[in-house]
Symmetry: C2
Subunit: 698 residues, 2 copies
C-alpha cells in the first residue's frame, strides 16, 4: 500500500502534480472518497437500504484517526487503543530498535501497561469541527495574481489556521477541496504522545514481501496496536469502534473510514499527460536506481541490512505503486475516457458566453503553467529539494534546513512566513525535529554520496550550484565530511539550536548547518519563482475549472483525495482475472501452504510453533470494492453496525489506476479480517491484555 | 558513446524495435549514413567540390574495420596496427587483468612486438565484396506467411551465407537494408587473432567519466591500439590510413567511416510510440536499478570494484544514451515532423489504387503485430531471454545455453537451425564460447541473485516458469547453487562439451547446463511463437513499406543503420547552446584546468608527471556535424586526402536524438584529435614503437 509522506509535500506534490480540476460527469456505483459532511446518503439508502444517520456517521468519524506520517487508524477501546497497519508503525519500530534488538524482526508486545513505549515523533489526529472558509480565501485573493496572489493566499491561510489552533492540542488545516472549488477549515484534536502496544514480526506482517505487494490472494497480518496518551495516561476515547460481532460474508456492505492521500481524477489532460510522459517515468527511474543501491547496500552486514531494509520497504512500495499508476494512464481506452470527459466539459463551457468568458481560458493557463513548471523542475527539485533525490532521505540535512529556516522565519510575522513555519504548524514541526531517530553513520554517508552524485548528474558538473556545493571534492569526500562534521544526530543539539533561534544557528560550526546556510538563498529564490509564476497560476485557474464544473454539473460528486478524512462504501467481493474468479477471502491455512521457509515467504517461528493450535480455516485477508488509495493504510473497515470487521492495508494491482479513475469491475481494497487479528493475538502471541481490551468474543 | 552488443541481438532488437519502414521525404544537408556502394557523390561534388573517386572510396573502405563486439576501427599501418577506442577494448583489458594488475587502471604498452597480448575472443572484420541478393530472398518467401515465411526466410539466409563463407577467414552476412527493401550479402575478411598493443589509463581515456559522457567540451584520450595477426604474424594490411599531414581546422570537410549500430528513422509511428511509451522507459527503469546495484556492489572491496566498474561503464553509457533517445521522441515538434512524414507517404500511397492495394495495408499490419509483440514481451524477455535482465550478464548461463542449443542444432541441417547456429556463424560462436574470461564467483552470484529476483518480480511468484526455475529456493540460494555447481568458467570444460556435442551435454552434471536443459523447451516455444506470429509479419510488411517508399520517392536516401559499414560526411564546427557558441576544439591544457584530482576528474600520474613537457595548446578533442550513432565508436575520421585526422568516440547530448532523425544545428560527433594521440604517445608514454609505426611527423 502506498504511503505518502506528507510532510513538506507542498512543493513536491506541486512539482509532480500541479493544480487543476475536471469532473467526470457521472460517478460509478460505489465510487468515491466522500467528505464526512458531504455523503451521498440518498444513494446509500437506495442501493443498500442503509440509513447513514447523523449519529452513526459522527461516531465513525470520531472513532477514526489520522496518523501524521501519512496513514489512517481507529480507536478500538475507550482507553486510546489504536489500530493501524504494521507498515504504518515501521518508522516507530525502527526508531526503537537497536543493534541488539530489532523490533521489525522480533515484533513487540507490552505485557504490562508500563511496558508500552513512546513512538518518537508520532502523532494521532482526530477530526473535530469543519468550517467553510471559501469566501474568506477567495476574498483575500480577489483580483490578484502572481506574487501578490501567492502572498495573500498564504497569509490568509496562516491567519485562519492560527485563529483556530488555540492550544497545542489542536491542529488546524485549511483543506482545498475540488482543487480550490471549496476551502474548508479542519480542526483536529492532536495526540502527541503515542505509544507502541503490540506489533507482530515483519515476516507475517508483510508475508510475501515486495513480490506479493499489491497482489491478492494475500496472507498478511499487517497490523499494529498503538495507544494515544494524554498527560501521561491513556487517553479517554469515548468514541471507538466495537469489534465485529457477526462474521463478515461475501456481498456484505462495508465502509472504509480513512485519509486517502491524493488522487488526480479531476486534473486537466495537460497535467495528466505530463504525469504520464515525464513525472511518473522520471520518478520510476530514480526510485529504481535508489532501490538497486539500497538492496545491495543491505548486503554489507546485519546493521546495514537493518537500516537499509526499513527504507527499501517504502521505496519498493512507492516504485510498484507508481508503476501501476503509470500503466493505468498508458491504457489507451482509459485515457480516452478522461480526454472525452474534459472535452465534454469544455464544450459545455464554450456553449454559454458568460461561462466562456469566465472559465474558458483556465485550461490553457494551466497548460502554460505546467510547461513553465517542467522547465524549472530540475532546479526546484535539486536546489530547493536539497541536493538529493526525494527518496534518499538525509535526516541531518532536513534537520539543518528546519533549523536554518525555522530560525529565520520565526522572526517574521505569522502571515509572512514560509507556510510550513506558520504558527499553527510549529508544534508539529518542533515535535518532528526533536524526536529521537538513531542514525547509522556509514549508511548516512553512503546515501548522501548517492545523493550528491545524482545532483552532479542531473544539474551537470558545470552548474554554479553544483560547483558551490561540491567545490573540488568528490561526492564521497563531501558526504563523509558533512556527516562526520555534524552533531545534529543528537536531539539535545537540535533542541539547543531550535531554542537558540537564528543567533545560535548562525554561530554554529556544524558542517551541515553551514551547508544549509550557504545554499539557503538559492533554494528560496527558485522556490519563490515557482510559487509566484507557477503555483499561483495553477491555484487560481484550478479554482476556475472547479467553479466551471460546479456551474455545469452542480456539486454532485466527491473531491479528489487530499489526505483528509473520507468515507467510502462498497461490498465484500472478489473479481474476475484472466477469466478466473478470485474469491474474496483467504484463510490462515493458506499462509502455511504458500510458505517456502525463505523470506519473503518464511513464516515466523511463533506461527510455525502454534500451527497445531490455529484454526486454519479462519479468514485471514479479504477484498472489497471500496474505493481507496494510499493514505488509507490502517483504515478501519466497518459493517452496517459500524463495528470493526477489517483493517485496510493494501489494494490489488488494478487499484493503482485509482489515482485517475475507478473501475469497479477490478479495483479492490485488501484488508486483514478482524477474526484473524483476534485469533493471532490469542493463539500465536498470547496477547490477552490486548484482545481482552477489544472486548470481542471469539 | 553507446556500444551495442550485437551478438544474439536478433530477438532483442526485434523486441524493442520491431520491423517497419518509413522514409523521410527530404534528406538534410550532410545527413546520412551511406552504404559504400550508394554514396551521394553528386551532392558531395556540388556542396564540397569533392570527387569521391572509386579509388579513394575503396581505399577508405578497406582501411576501415568492424570489431565484432559492436565497434569500429581502422588499420593505421601496413602491419595490421588497428586504432579504436579505449572503451571498445575494455572487454579485452578486463579479461587480461588480474587482482595484481588492473590494466584498466594502469594502461598497457607492449614495448616489444613479443609483448603484444592476445585479446580473448576479439575479432576484426574488413568488408570485401557486396552482392545484391534481394531477388533470391524475396523469391524464397513469395506468397508465404507466418511460420512458413519465417522458415523460408531463415533457410534462404543460411544457404546464401554458407555458400559465401568458403573459409574460416570469411564471415558472411545477409544485411537487410531499408528494413527489407534491399537485401545484400556482405563478405568480410575475418581476423580472429587480435592483440593488444597500447592502451592509456582509464582516468585519461574516460576523463570526466559518466558526468561528462555525451557532453562537450571534452578531454578524453579514448584510444587503444590493437594489431591484427595472421598465422601468428602481424597481418599485412596494404590498405591503411596515413596519419594526417595537415592540421585539421574549423570548417574542414570530414568523413567518418564506420559501423553505426542501429537507427529507427524509417520506423512507423506505431513503432516509435511503442518505443517512446514502453520500450525505452522500461529499459531505463531496469538499467537504473541495475546501475544502483552495481555502483554499490563496487564498494564491497577492490576486486568487487574492478569487476563491477567494467560493467557499470556500459550500463551508465546505455542509460544515458537511452534517456537521450527517449527525450528526443518526447519533443512534440520533433515527433510531429515524424508523424507528418508518415501521413504524407500514406496519402501518396492512397492516391493510386494500384499502390493502395499493394502497400496500403502494411501500416495496420505492423501496428497489429506490434501490439502482439507487446503482449508477449514479458515472456519472451524473461523466458527466452534467460531469466535475468538483458543487462545483468551471466556468462555461465550464456555459455550453458550455447552448449545446450549448439549441441542440438548442429545435428540439424544448416537451413533448419536457429539462425545463430547456421554454419556460416559457427566459427564466431565457437571463438566466443571458448575465449577465456575470468569470472569472480561472488560477483556472479550477486548478479544472478539480482536477476532471479527480477524474474520473480516481472513474471510473478505464481508463474509456472518461475516456479520451475526457483522451486522453493530463494533467488540467493539458487544463484549460489548454480554458480558454485558449474565448471563452465573453465574454457577447457566448455571446449569438452562443445566438441562432445549433444551427448556430452546431456551427460553433464553441471548445474548450469542442467538448468539450461530444463528450460530449453519453454524458451524455444515462446521464441517460435514470436518469430512466427510477430517477426514474420513485421518482416513481410516492412518490406512492403520499403517498397512503397521506393515507389513514391525513388531510392534517393540512405537506409537505417544496421551495424554495417557506412560513410558519413560533414565539417568541423561547434554549435550554439543556450545562446552561446561552443567552439569546435579543446586543448590538452583544458584537461589540466578541469582536473580536480578526484575521479572522474583525476588525471593519471603519467600526465601530471609530464605536464612540463606537454604542449598544452595541442588540440585534444573536437566536434563535427557528421551523422553518427552508437557502433561508430572507434571510427576513423579522415580529411579530403583520406588521412586519419581524428578518432570518433562520442556524440554530444543532442546526437542521441540521431536514432530518429538528424538535426544539423545541434547534433555533433566528438573525436580525439590525431595530434593529441601522437603527442601523448611520444611525450607521456614514450611509446615510440607505436608512433614510429604510424609514420607521422609531429
Amino acid at each position: 500500500m502506498k504511503l505518502r509522506s506528507l510532510w513538506g509535500s507542498g512543493v513536491w506534490a506541486a512539482l509532480t502534480v500541479v493544480g487543476g480540476s475536471l469532473l467526470s460527469s457521472a460517478v460509478q456505483a460505489d465510487e468515491g472518497m466522500w467528505p464526512f459532511d458531504h455523503l451521498p446518503k440518498a444513494a446509500l439508502k437506495k442501493k443498500y437500504d442503509f440509513d447513514a444517520t447523523d449519529a452513526w456517521v459522527a461516531h465513525l468519524r470520531k472513532s477514526s484517526v489520522r496518523l501524521a506520517n501519512g496513514c489512517s487508524g481507529s480507536f478500538v477501546s475507550g482507553s486510546g487503543l489504536t489500530l493501524t497497519n504494521h507498515h504504518c508503525a515501521q518508522d516507530c519500530l525502527s526508531r526503537l530498535s537497536t543493534p541488539q534488538q530489532d523490533l521489525m524482526k522480533s515484533g513487540f508486545y507490552a505485557k504490562a501497561a508500563s511496558d508500552e513505549r513512546v513512538c518518537p515523533g508520532l502523532t494521532v489526529q482526530q477530526l473535530g469541527d469543519i468550517t467553510d472558509v471559501t469566501a474568506r480565501v477567495q476574498q483575500a485573493t480577489k483580483g490578484l495574481s502572481g506574487e501578490a496572489f501567492h502572498q495573500a493566499f498564504r497569509a490568509e491561510g496562516a491567519r485562519i489556521e492560527k485563529e483556530c489552533a488555540t492550544s497545542e492540542q489542536l491542529t488546524c488545516e485549511v483543506v482545498s477541496l475540488y482543487h480550490g472549488g471549496l476551502y474548508q477549515l479542519y480542526q483536529f484534536r492532536r495526540y502527541s504522545d503515542v505509544r507502541l502496544v503490540f506489533a507482530p514480526e515483519l515476516d507475517i506482517a508483510a508475508f510475501g514481501g515486495d513480490p506479493d505487494n499489491f497482489n491478492f490472494p494475500r496472507y498478511d497480518l499487517d497490523m499494529t496496536f498503538l495507544r494515544a496518551y494524554e498527560d501521561g495516561k491513556p487517553a479517554v476515547t469515548a468514541d471507538h469502534l466495537r469489534w465485529a460481532s457477526t462474521p463478515l460474508q461475501p456481498n456484505d456492505l462495508t465502509f472504509v473510514s480513512g485519509n486517502p492521500g491524493s488522487t488526480e481524477r479531476l486534473r486537466t489532460i495537460a497535467q495528466l499527460e505530463y504525469l504520464r510522459d515525464h513525472a511518473l517515468p522520471d520518478a520510476l527511474i530514480e526510485l529504481a536506481q535508489y532501490r538497486g543501491f539500497l538492496s545491495e547496500y543491505a548486503e554489507r552486514g546485519p546493521e546495514a541490512k537493518r537500516f537499509a531494509s526499513a527504507e527499501l520497504f517504502g521505496v519498493e512500495n512507492a516504485f510498484k505503486a507508481t508503476r501501476g499508476e503509470r500503466e493505468a494512464l498508458l491504457e489507451p481506452a482509459f485515457f480516452r475516457r478522461l480526454v472525452q470527459a474534459e472535452q465534454q466539459l469544455k464544450a459545455r463551457i464554450g456553449s454559454k458566453p458568460e461561462w466562456k468568458s469566465k472559465y474558458g481560458g483556465a485550461w490553457a493557463a494551466i497548460a502554460e503553467a505546467q510547461a513553465k513548471a517542467a522547465a524549472m523542475e530540475d532546479e526546484l527539485k535539486w536546489i530547493e529539494g536539497g541536493f538529493r533525490p526525494a527518496w534518499a532521505k538525509t535526516s541531518l540535512f532536513s534537520w539543518a534546513r528546519t533549523l536554518v529556516r525555522g530560525g529565520a522565519e520565526r522572526q517574521k510575522k505569522n502571515e509572512e512566513r514560509l507556510e510550513e513555519f506558520a504558527d499553527a504548524r510549529l508544534p508539529q514541526v518542533q515535535q518532528r525535529l526533536l524526536a529521537q531517530r538513531p542514525l547509522n553513520q556509514q549508511f548516512e554517508i553512503a546515501k548522501l554520496t548517492f545523493g550528491l552524485t545524482a545532483l552532479r548528474e542531473h544539474l551537470g558538473t558545470d552548474h554554479p550550484f553544483v560547483k558551490k556545493v561540491l567545490g573540488k571534492a568528490s561526492p564521497a569526500e563531501l558526504a563523509s565530511a558533512l556527516i562526520k562534521g555534524s552533531s545534529l544526530d543528537k536531539p539535545e543539539e537540535r533542541k539547543r539550536l531550535w531554542e537558540g533561534g537564528q543567533a545560535a544557528v548562525l554561530a554554529s560550526k556544524d558542517r551541515m548547518i553551514q551547508l544549509a546556510l550557504a545554499i539557503d538563498a538559492e533554494g528560496r529564490a527558485v522556490r519563490a519563482r515557482y510559487e509566484n509564476e507557477v503555483e499561483s497560476v495553477l491555484t487560481k485557474n484550478s479554482e476556475l475549472v472547479a467553479q466551471a464544473r460546479f456551474a455545469v454539473y452542480g456539486m454532485t460528486s466527491y473531491p479528489d483525495a487530499t489526505f483528509s478524512p473520507r468515507l467510502s462504501f462498497g461490498t465484500v467481493r472478489g473479481w474476475r482475472e484472466d477469466g478466473k474468479w478470485v474469491p474474496a477471502f483467504t484463510t490462515i491455512g493458506g499462509a502455511f501452504e504458500r510458505a517456502t521457509g525463505r523470506p519473503p515467504y518464511a513464516l515466523p517461528k511463533s506461527w510455525l510453533d502454534h500451527r497445531g493450535q490455529l484454526k486454519l480455516d479462519t479468514p485471514f485477508n479479504f477484498v472489497t470494492d471500496n474505493d481507496i488509495v494510499g493514505g488509507n493504510s490502517g483504515s478501519p473497515l466497518v459493517n452496517r453496525q459500524g463495528e470493526l470487521a477489517g483493517l485496510i492495508f493494501d489494494g490489488n494491482i488494478h487499484s493503482l489506476g485509482g489515482s485517475y479513475g475507478f473501475d469497479i469491475a477490478r479495483n479492490r481494497a485488501v484488508a486483514v479480517d478482524a477474526r484473524a487479528i483476534l485469533h493471532a493475538l490469542d493463539v500465536v502471541y498470547g496477547a490477552q491484555r490486548v484482545s481482552a481490551e477489544l472486548g470481542a468474543k471469539q
